[in-house]
Subunit: 229 residues, 2 copies
């Protein structure tokens, strides 16, 4: 699976995400026509992510957002009830997407070796496609209220659990030799995170997602493969 194939298969477009949000958030969104609402939502989210990733969500004022979207303050408030809610919607959507795509891509019947590659590749591709979204989620978690923060923590641990399970399966199949699956999953995750957190560095060095992906897979396999087999 290449990156381009992934993009098509995953069908994760901003438009699709916004359509989903439109149907779920009928309480906050006062607009009735889907076409109008989705078009503006795409604009609002894209702009909000752009501005927030430049200077932080708190620093971005709704006047900034208004200016950059071309929508008035009043119009913006037809799409969310408060600035706080805008933050929550973005966060929530990102979390659900990760979970959905990750578990969808991994074939439960494949070997631990295959699963590991797929999980790493899928995670990197996903964060590549929605890199603004992930960077935002990562940086703004602490600005959420307690209840929403807890959800973020659970999301993070759930993703990690996927890797822990794969590593344990690898031990059983004698393909891997992993003494500490929890810490191993933890450092794997840190490498995956680096791709979207320190994206500027990889752009600077002209490293593509596939290069990074192949490197990470090789690196991890060298570290954990069972030398006795």
């Amino acid at each position: 699976m290449t990156f381009d194939e992934f993009k098509q298969m995953a069908m994760v477009s901003m438009t699709e995400i916004c359509r989903e949000i439109f149907h779920e958030k009928q309480t906050s969104i006062k607009i009735k026509k889907e076409a109008v609402a989705v078009k503006n939502l795409v604009n609002i989210f894209n702009t909000a992510l752009k501005l927030s990733n430049e200077k932080g969500f708190q620093t971005m004022s709704l006047r900034d957002l208004s200016r950059n979207t071309g929508l008035s303050m009043g119009a913006l408030y037809s799409y969310f009830a408060s600035k706080e809610e805008l933050l929550e919607i973005i966060q929530d959507q990102g979390r659900r997407l990760t979970r959905k795509i990750l578990t969808r891509q991994i074939d439960p019947n494949s070997s631990s070796d295959e699963k590991l590659c797929t999980a790493i590749r899928t995670h990197l591709y996903l964060t590549e496609v929605l890199h603004k979204w992930f960077y935002f989620s990562f940086m703004e978690t602490k600005n959420l209220e307690k209840k929403q923060q807890k959800k973020s923590v659970e999301g993070e641990l759930a993703t990690e659990q996927i890797f822990i399970d794969i590593l344990k399966q690898g031990n059983r199949e004698k393909l891997f030799h992993v003494e500490n699956p929890i810490l191993t999953a933890s450092v794997i995750k840190s490498m995956l995170q680096d791709w979207y957190v320190k994206r500027w560095k990889y752009t600077l060095r002209q490293i593509t997602v596939d290069e990074y992906c192949n490197f990470v897979i090789d690196f991890i396999k060298s570290a954990i493969k069972n030398k006795e087999s």
Copy 2:
């Protein structure tokens, strides 16, 4: 070297850092008596780091800072010229400290193997001692003005260069087999970063800095050691 030994050797106390700042920032700091100034600076920085790490620097108002330090708004402004400058001072100090301690600890004449262990251990210990400071630096970089941001980037690349050099030395000494030193240094750094960025996770799992350190060293060595020797 254990963590406790490091703490004493490094002599990095909040008080010492603040004394240094006091002598350098005579322009902004209007207080003349060292004893008074240092005492209040320790208070201000500790509180600022605490509040910022909970909810972000921008969200922390100077009224918050005033309330939590017990100092009035007027008094605070005797220690820095603007909120922006407070941010810069904290950032700058953290960067310089990293550089100083890292290069001081590594013996230029030791083997690549020893150097790698020392660099990893020192980095982890340092970020453990000053974990609030590093978390702050990491999270607030994008709120700096362009010129300061550039310094941050340079600092990051400089730290990475230390690891790149060690890995290349290891190749020459035939202790390591590292095909891509840049990407390898990059993922090593991401693991080290995880210790202070996702600190809550390791606290939750009751993993000590020494446990994490030993694990990371083993993991990296498994991945890069020269199998032909």
